[in-house]
């Protein structure tokens, strides 16, 4: 071919694997060409396990100049199961970064309300850590984290140190508690009565399962947040990440191109945006 194939991944090596829960593992990945990925918080990569296939995975580490980056993967099907069976030193393929990113620059000086449902913490972690590295660039930082059960909580050690920081407010909940759980029990919206915000200065950044959005958006609105102060990242089936295969189509919008990060005001009238 005269021009390069947009489907050709670069080879990358798994440097480290850390078990997170029974279902999720954190992978540290290094592109073999030695070039930094150059992603922005909220973007994703297409990860290949050769012979099995490819799937979209958010970059979970904050943008930096280092070549290593992190992805946190839940075992959900063919590719993700195959990833879970790999070990440090194994080679995978990476295409990207793709998609839109959280408006981390436009939000400088604003208060940030992060709403992370389950695996939603994975892309949000990229922005949270970025903001914490530049703590003075942002106003208040409030983090809401919801998991199904205490055992499903991701990044436990990291979260524990976050929770201790005096320069942010951290609230969490589980849908179903257990004997060891002393914290809040209930869906993520049960955390909303526990804090106040200045809706003019605050932006909510939400990532979670489809059912979460409707309720979390209603709760954010009830706190006075305007629709354009709500930022969401949507999951869709993706095969190409390039606006060609049609799988991620949501009305006239391709989530892999115009998303996955959207301003809620821009998509609220789209028929299939929030099901």
């Amino acid at each position: 071919m005269g021009s390069p194939s947009p489907y050709l991944p670069g080879l990358a090596t798994i440097m480290k694997i850390e078990e997170q829960t029974a279902m999720e593992k954190l992978f540290m990945v290094r592109p073999n060409d030695g070039k930094p990925l150059g992603h922005k918080p909220g973007q994703f990569v297409e990860v290949s396990v050769f012979g099995v296939g490819e799937c979209p995975i958010s970059v979970s580490s904050a943008p930096n100049k280092k070549t290593d980056f992190e992805i946190c993967v839940r075992r959900a099907g063919n590719v993700t199961n195959a990833l879970h069976n790999l070990k440090a030193g194994d080679v995978i393929g990476i295409r990207g970064p793709y998609g839109t990113h959280f408006p981390f620059e436009d939000l400088k000086g604003k208060d940030l309300l992060f709403v992370a449902g389950g695996l939603g913490i994975v892309p949000l972690r990229s922005f949270i850590n970025y903001a914490l590295e530049r703590r003075r660039d942002y106003g208040r930082i409030i983090i809401l984290f919801g998991a199904r059960t205490p055992a499903d909580r991701l990044f436990k050690a990291e979260i524990a140190s976050l929770a201790r920081r005096p320069d942010l407010e951290y609230l969490e909940t589980v849908d179903v508690g257990d004997a060891s759980w002393k914290g809040n029990v209930g869906v993520i919206t049960t955390l909303f009565p526990k804090f106040t915000i200045d809706p003019k200065k605050t932006y909510a950044i939400m990532v979670g399962p489809p059912v979460m959005y409707r309720f979390a958006i209603a709760a954010a609105r009830a706190k006075g947040l305007a629709d354009d102060h709500i930022i969401v990242s949507l999951e869709r089936k993706m095969k190409c990440g390039l606006g060609k295969c049609g799988h991620c189509q949501m009305g006239p919008v391709y989530v892999c191109q115009e998303g996955p990060v959207f301003n809620f005001a821009a998509i609220k009238n789209l028929e299939e945006a929030l099901s």
């Binding site: 021009s3 490819e54 095969k239 190409c240 799988h247 189509q249 949501m250 391709y254 028929e271 099901s275």
Partner: protein
């Protein structure tokens, strides 16, 4: 460029010359002749030809559109070898001439060209497209379910290398590209068209258009995007989709459907393999299913509706094209006969 004439006997010689020059020439074959099923009316298909006599130019519509050569049902994108850890992209190498493409199918190809050349470009498609010569022909026979005259797809201004019109004793030839012009030079017995012959071509086209009007949209197709606005909850989606088998045939046979799946093949030693793409369809139940069992279009009615919105509105809002060219393939092939855009769109227009 002015119009040329190829005499009827000259055309066979021209095709013979093309066969000599290029490694593959595809033409339309009449499969009704080979059907062994009594009473089977047969069908037309694009297939490689070995001699000019194998093909027909007086077909109404082919079963599968010529997209199968530009976006093959199975197309290898990459090959990889895990032991040295190498991966490379596959490039199409074949030069192809597709002989006999109706204007509506050319319009559909023009739409695919737009999609695959949008940034980031799909060089696999574009490379294949570049290597493909398109020789169009105006339809004389009109398929029973065709309605291309309603979709502004009775003629096409570009996207072909040559475009023929059968005016009885000869073909009028419109030259659409440099490639077409140099091919035409190899055709024996060509000359410039006389004004009367050009008039005759317009008459032939008008007559075919009139025959196609037997089956028509009751309003201008340009109204489709706005007609669909606000009709998301119309009863027709539930009502008709009750009969839908989610078989995806309407996607498969449609010249403007280009969605695909990407998969890997691996050798028995698990070392070498390839990545390929294959046709997919939004009417299939798993098309929008994600991990964890979530399905963004899990209901049949949602998938059924999506297809009509994609044809009449979504692609228009994104690329400026109405993604139905009125070939009638979907309505002819749907086992439940619920796929016909004319029926659905006219009903929405009536507001009942």
């Amino acid at each position: 460029m002015s119009l040329a004439i190829i005499e009827k006997e000259g055309l066979h010689l021209f095709v013979a010359e093309l066969l000599r020059q290029k490694n593959t020439v595809v033409g339309v074959k009449d499969q009704s002749a080979v059907s062994s099923i009594p009473g089977d009316s047969g069908f037309y298909t694009y297939a490689p030809i070995n001699s000019p006599g194998e093909m027909t130019l007086s077909f109404d519509v082919t079963l599968i559109p010529p997209k199968k050569y530009l976006l093959p049902a199975y197309e290898q994108l990459l090959t990889f070898n895990l032991s040295p850890g190498s991966i490379k992209a596959d490039a199409p190498k074949e030069e192809l001439i597709i002989f006999g493409v109706h204007p509506y199918d050319i319009i559909a190809i023009n739409q695919m060209d737009k999609v695959f050349s949008a940034i980031p470009q799909d060089n696999h498609y574009l490379e294949r497209r570049k290597r493909t010569t398109i020789i169009g022909i105006d339809p004389v026979k009109v398929a029973p379910r065709a309605f291309w005259s309603s979709m502004g797809a009775d003629t096409v201004a570009g996207g072909f290398d040559l475009m023929l019109t059968d005016i009885g004793q000869c073909y009028v030839v419109d030259v659409g590209s440099k490639k077409g012009a140099s091919l035409l030079k190899t055709a024996p017995r060509t000359r410039e068209a006389a004004p009367a012959e050009v008039k005759e071509r317009d008459k032939v086209r008008a007559e075919a258009r009139k025959r196609c009007d037997a089956n028509r949209l009751s309003f201008s197709y340009l109204e489709l995007p706005s007609l669909l606005d606000g009709n998301e909850e119309h009863v027709i989606w539930e009502e008709k989709s009750h009969l839908c088998f989610s078989c995806g045939t309407c996607n498969l046979v449609c010249p403007t459907c280009y969605c695909f799946d990407v998969r890997d093949d691996v050798s028995i030693d698990l070392k070498k393999g390839s990545r390929y793409r294959t046709w997919d369809g939004c009417l299939l139940s798993d098309f929008a299913r994600v991990a964890g069992g979530g399905n963004f279009r899990g209901h049949r009615a949602d998938r059924y509706r999506h297809r009509f919105y994609r044809k009449g509105q979504f692609i228009y809002r994104r690329f400026g094209d109405i993604a139905c060219v009125g070939c009638g393939r979907c309505s002819a092939q749907c086992p439940s006969d619920i796929a016909d855009p004319v029926t659905v769109f006219n009903r929405l227009k009536e507001g009942i």
